[in-house]
């Protein structure tokens, strides 16, 4: 069975990949790619339901085993079930569901991101204390200069500084970002290849 699973993974991966590169030469590969991708999307959708079920199980267990935190878990389960049931029945365009998103999801998410404004500054301060090597110093100096360059002031942009800094940091960071992106792409390529070659088999528990 494990072999069959592996074969299926490799076959579907290779087919999709062939569709990527050889679709022009072999149109059927393109079609096969779309079919497989469609299946994968369906399965990922189904996986979402299973994932949510897992979420529920975990919190049900929490309610059972950790009375102290059971309230939060209960809130989560209720909110989840309520939203899901209502949403499945009413549909995502329903105004009440929109209300739930607007009143709960967006404010909380935005607030969580807003927390970062303080957290990140604090992290910079700690970084200077914790790891004052050349790279960290350059990192912090760049942050400060970049912020100064984009900072609105009562007198407008700081003369010369904005263009100079933005130009310099733009070039340097562009180069660095390109290198980082290429590196990440390389890593992704090799990781994907390991899966397609059957070396890594996360689906088979290997």
């Amino acid at each position: 069975m494990r072999i069959l699973v592996t074969v299926l993974a490799i076959a579907s991966g290779v087919t999709v990949l062939a569709g990527y590169f050889l679709a022009g030469a072999v149109p059927v590969l393109d079609q096969a790619r779309f079919i497989l991708t469609d299946w994968a999307v369906i399965l990922a959708g189904m996986a979402a339901l299973i994932g949510v079920a897992n979420l529920v199980f975990v919190h049900i267990e929490k309610v059972r085993s950790q009375p102290g935190t059971s309230l939060y878990s209960a809130v989560l389960i209720i909110a989840l079930f309520g939203t899901t049931l209502y949403g499945v029945i009413a549909g995502p365009e329903d105004s009440f569901l929109n209300f739930a998103v607007t009143a709960i999801v967006i404010p909380v998410e935005a607030s969580l991101l807003a927390l970062l404004a303080v957290t990140l500054v604090y992290a910079c301060i700690r970084l200077a204390r914790r790891r004052a090597d050349v790279m960290s110093v350059i990192f912090l100096v760049t942050i400060v200069l970049f912020l100064l360059a984009v900072m609105p002031t009562p007198i407008g942009p700081i003369p010369v500084l904005d263009r100079l800094i933005l130009g310099m940091t733009g070039v340097v960071s562009g180069a660095g970002a390109r290198g980082l992106l290429i590196g990440v792409a390389l890593g992704t390529l090799l990781t994907g290849l390991r899966v397609l070659l059957g070396i890594d088999r996360p689906y088979g528990g290997n």
């Binding site: 469609d38 994968a40 949403g87 935005a110 100096v141 960071s173 290849l193």
Partner: protein
């Protein structure tokens, strides 16, 4: 009280509850977060149900023309539920194999056609200017930084070659600047979010107070 006001009030309360995390972990923060997770996940499931499962899996079941192509994902989808039980979780391996296989291919395709080749070409193309030369040098140095292979020195320390170490050191400078710029960008995003949250709170308070 209109829907919008109620929504704004709830949003305000939740924002304050989340902000309480600035003091430290506390029940208010927990409550807001768990509520948020429940609603967000529920909403996501709703969208997935209506946008993915119904149109792609359930609807075709009633369509004889598309039925054949739906049987396989249907069976795989059902088998996926075996993942809820560790004992029979292997049954769901086929479905996960399809996801992983397609995902790996997508990752490879995206990495190659989306980043690797276009970025390499861009690095080559931009070489005709001084900025381009710096960009190219920076890209090369950044890449050199990641050299993993090293040699074991006689004193049992593991080091890369001296040239690579030098290139890597220079590459670190580019990486530091890049991360600094990106960090500043994240900060600006977070700051904007903070301003937006504070604005919504202040505006709501103002409106509630009739100011």
């Amino acid at each position: 009280m209109s829907f919008e006001v109620v929504s704004a009030v709830i949003g305000l309360l939740l924002t304050l509850m989340v902000f309480s995390y600035l003091i430290g972990d506390n029940p208010l923060f927990r409550l807001a977060v768990y509520l948020f997770i429940g609603v967000a996940s529920g909403y996501a499931v709703t969208v997935i149900w209506h946008s993915v499962l119904v149109p792609r899996l359930l609807d075709p079941l009633g369509n004889p023309n598309r039925l054949a192509w739906t049987v396989v994902p249907l069976i795989l989808s059902i088998s996926l539920w075996a993942k809820l039980s560790p004992r029979i979780s292997r049954l769901g391996g086929f479905a996960m194999a399809v996801i992983v296989g397609v995902g790996a291919a997508t990752a490879i395709g995206g990495a190659l056609t989306g980043t690797l080749i276009p970025q390499v070409e861009a690095a080559m193309d931009s070489f005709d200017s001084s900025e381009g030369a710096v960009m190219l040098a920076g890209t090369v140095l950044t890449l050199a930084y990641f050299q993993f292979g090293a040699k074991r020195a006689p004193d049992d320390t593991i080091k890369r070659g001296a040239v690579i170490e030098l290139l890597a050191w220079l590459g670190r400078l580019f990486i530091a600047v890049t991360l600094g710029v990106l960090f500043a960008g994240v900060y600006l995003s977070a700051l904007t979010a903070l301003i937006e949250r504070l604005s919504s709170i202040i505006n709501l308070v103002k409106s509630l107070l009739g100011l």
